[in-house]
Every structure is written in structure tokens, then in C-alpha cells.
């Protein structure tokens, strides 16, 4: 039963991160747009720094999603194996 709860928890986390991911991409593009339009050198550097942060957030989220998906796959396999043993 615990596995089922953990599977649901992981699915929920993957769902939330998947939905958040495009927002990081959009934020990165937003700051890059501002950087390209900025005439002031200091402002441009700041926007590039912010865009970079958003890009790193996106990479972090992608890695986290990948990790969680791997955990989920392992749990699901483990759940199926348990089922087989119970039958026999």
C-alpha cells in the first residue's frame, strides 16, 4: 500500500514540475528579450544574469523530472514484481 502512495506522490511531483518547466523557459526568453533591447551596459548584464538563472532553473527542473521518473519506474516495476509473488 505504501508503494501505491509513494507512486501517487511521485506522479504528483512530476506533474507539478512538468507544468512549471515551460515557465522557466518563458522567463529565460523574457530576460533575454530585455537584454537584447537594453541600451545600458549594466542593465544588459543584469538581464543576461537573470536569464542565465532561469536557464539553470530549467536545467535543474529537467534533471529532477528525469530522476523522479526513474524512481517512479523502479517503484512500478517493484509493485508488479510484488503482485506476481503474491499470486504464486
Amino acid at each position: 500500500m505504501k508503494n501505491i502512495e509513494r507512486i501517487r506522490e511521485l506522479e504528483g511531483q512530476i506533474e507539478a514540475l512538468t507544468i512549471a518547466l515551460p515557465e522557466e523557459e518563458a522567463a529565460h526568453l523574457f530576460y533575454m528579450g530585455l537584454a537584447n533591447g537594453a541600451s545600458h551596459k549594466g542593465a544588459r548584464e543584469m538581464f543576461i544574469k537573470l536569464a542565465d538563472q532561469e536557464r539553470r532553473h530549467k536545467d535543474d527542473l529537467e534533471n529532477l523530472i528525469k530522476e523522479l521518473k526513474e524512481q517512479l519506474e523502479k517503484l512500478k516495476r517493484g509493485e508488479e514484481d510484488d503482485g506476481l509473488w503474491e499470486i504464486t
Binding site: 506522479e11 504528483g12 512530476i14 506533474e15 512538468t18 507544468i19 512549471a20 518547466l21 515551460p22
Partner: protein, 143 residues
């Protein structure tokens, strides 16, 4: 949806038509059943037709947004929206085709009208749930 350097929010734009037209069509159906005014029945026919025509547009724009923005991620919220969208694409046009097959049948009353009204009512929870799930995506809240 990206067209060149512009981001056009086609799905949020199109679903507002679908989600408004279905409840309004139900309103005119209810008005007809209460008052027997022919103008309400005719209005229902036109509005349900527009609603049914708008549904595949809403579905298609949503599908494209799912593929482009969310990379076709198979997570619960999108699976539910796709299933409910398919159901709405079945029910909406069914109501429309049934009506236009014989627009006068509503005047005769009886079991046929009762079943027709029930079918129309099923549109409401579908449209409301789709709107609710979509709204949650805008400001992400788990459901």
C-alpha cells in the same frame, strides 16, 4: 503557440467561446421547455451548432499547446483534459445533429425530449471541469 516572434494564446482564446456557448445554449433550451417560445428553440439550435463547431477548434489548439509548450508530457492533468475534450467532441455534435435531424421534435414532448435534455446537460460538467483544469494550469494548483 509561437508564430515568429509572437506568442499567441490561441487555446485560452478559443475555449472561452466553447465554454460560453454551451451553457448559453442550455439556457435557451431550458427557456424553450419552460415557455414553449419558438424563438428560444431556434436560438438554442443556432447556439448549440456554434458550440459544436467551436469544440474541435478548442481541442486542436489545446492539443497543439500541449505538444509545443509541455512537450506532450503524459501527466494526469493533460490526460484528463484530453479525455474530457474527446467526450465533449462526442456529446456536443450529437446534441446538434439530433436537433437538426428534426427541429420540431422538441414541440412534441415526451421521453425523447427528456433524453435529449439529459444529453445536453452532460455537456455542463464536461465544460466546467475542462475550464477548471485549464484555469488551474494558469496558476498551477494540484487537483
Amino acid at each position: 503557440m509561437r508564430i515568429g516572434k509572437y506568442t499567441i494564446h490561441l487555446h485560452p482564446m478559443s475555449v472561452h467561446f466553447t465554454n460560453a456557448l454551451y451553457p448559453v445554449s442550455l439556457l435557451f433550451l431550458a427557456l424553450y421547455l419552460l415557455t414553449k417560445e419558438d424563438s428560444s428553440r431556434t436560438t438554442y439550435g443556432y447556439i448549440i451548432t456554434l458550440a459544436a463547431l467551436s469544440t474541435p477548434v478548442s481541442f486542436a489548439t489545446g492539443y497543439i499547446q500541449w505538444r509545443q509548450k509541455y512537450k506532450a508530457a503524459k501527466v494526469r492533468v493533460f490526460i484528463r483534459k484530453i479525455r474530457l475534450g474527446i467526450a465533449l467532441m462526442a456529446v456536443g455534435p450529437s446534441c446538434t445533429l439530433w436537433y437538426w435531424a428534426d427541429p420540431g421534435f422538441l414541440t412534441r414532448g415526451g421521453m425523447e425530449v427528456f433524453l435529449f435534455s439529459l444529453l445536453n446537460l452532460t455537456v455542463l460538467p464536461l465544460a466546467v471541469t475542462l475550464g477548471y483544469l485549464g484555469g488551474n494550469l494558469v496558476r498551477w494548483r494540484p487537483h
